[in-house]
Amino acid sequence: MKERQKPKYDMEPRYVLLIMTMICIFLIFFSYKFANVFDVARTRMNSFLVPLQKGITTLGTGINNAVDNFEQVEALQKEIAELKAENDRITREKENIEQSLYDLERYKQLLSLADSYKNYTTVGANIIAKDSSGYYARFTLDKGYKDGIQVDMNVLAGAGLVGIITEVGPNYSIVRSIIDDNNYVSAIVTKTDDNCIVCGNLELLSMGYIEIRDLSINTEVRNNYKVYTSPLSDKYLPDILIGYISNIQNENDGLTKTGYLTPVVDFEHLNTVLIITDLKKNLTEE
């Protein structure tokens, strides 16, 4: 009873620990249950952090680029020569393809097929910070709701899927990538049209793979088949390339097959991404 007269900072550390632990558990519970209330505080704090992160990242990439420039001159000259040769080849191919496209268009009209490939509108964005914890494969982009970004927009790099936007502030947004251990994408395999689930797996990442599961046991999927996002998914837009299958094997339950997937996106050297500003739910409503 007499302990109450003591000033606060003389409290026994273990009691402080107990109180603080309860505060933490309380915080975890409430941020899980009432995410909206905490979003205000979170956005405030992040709006303060983001300009600083932007500055440091610009500086860092600047130094990185300066060092790289020295190393790369010779390699680049070689690459230019190769690219020129490739350009000639591609120009020839393009003419062939244009011809086939014209044919395709005609067949489509004949079959009165709806145009399945939508031209998505995209916005470019820079990565200014990668996951601060090291345990989530998430990163921060320099565009926010002021630039028209919304939660659940898909993020691409090159031809492949990078991830999905999970949080948006005025001048930043946070992307959870497909290699995140918590991320699941429903996907479809070309040629066989099998449905499956693609999920990140921290264990396989060292080999450059993520996981693919829930393939039907009867499927005839082979290695190197392409995997696209499925029209079934309620957040991911259809027909975006995710990666290539490898190492398919039967699951112990005898009902499904699992395998590895090599993502087309090089997550290790990712600097800029494209955000698709069309949302899946809007597209399906149309």
């Binding site: 620990l17 309380f26 975890i28 941020s31 899980y32 979170r42 952090l49 860092g60 910070a129 990668k130």
Partner: protein
Amino acid sequence: MVVVLVYAVEILIAVLLKTTLFTHLAFGYYNIIPDLIVMIVVAAAYQRGKTKGMFVGFFAGLVLDIASGGYLGVFALFYMFLGYLNGFLAKYYVQNDILLPLMMAAASEFLFAFMCYVFLFLTHGRTHLGAYILYQMIPLAIYTCIVFIPVYRILDLIYWKVTKPLYTDYSKVET
């Protein structure tokens, strides 16, 4: 007041560096990034005891929670426990000693990685503990140790030059 300000700046710099520049130092896909926050928490607990180590850990974890977009309070809880546990060794504090804090940092980083595994991965069915120890926890602890040596020198210097004189008596009482 000065102490609070110094720790606020330290935590802010740590979170900013960890999210930006240090990602260039990461090993491969695994995000093996030296953990500046563990270093600050270990140093604070070692120099100032359980209660203060706990508070530094709590606020550092909270900032990290906010910046990383997970549930609020998870990392705050982890770092707070690290601050408390490291505080037990505060009575052995000697200026310029590097060996004990280095071991503390290694053990703390390992423990932190283990807590992350239990609460963030085991909870959704990742049971291969061996792989996590081998590819995540051990490299993380080693990398943190290497970076800890110069960082701790700076933190100890800050402790003596900037904040120590104000709290000389108090630190005696606490140990």
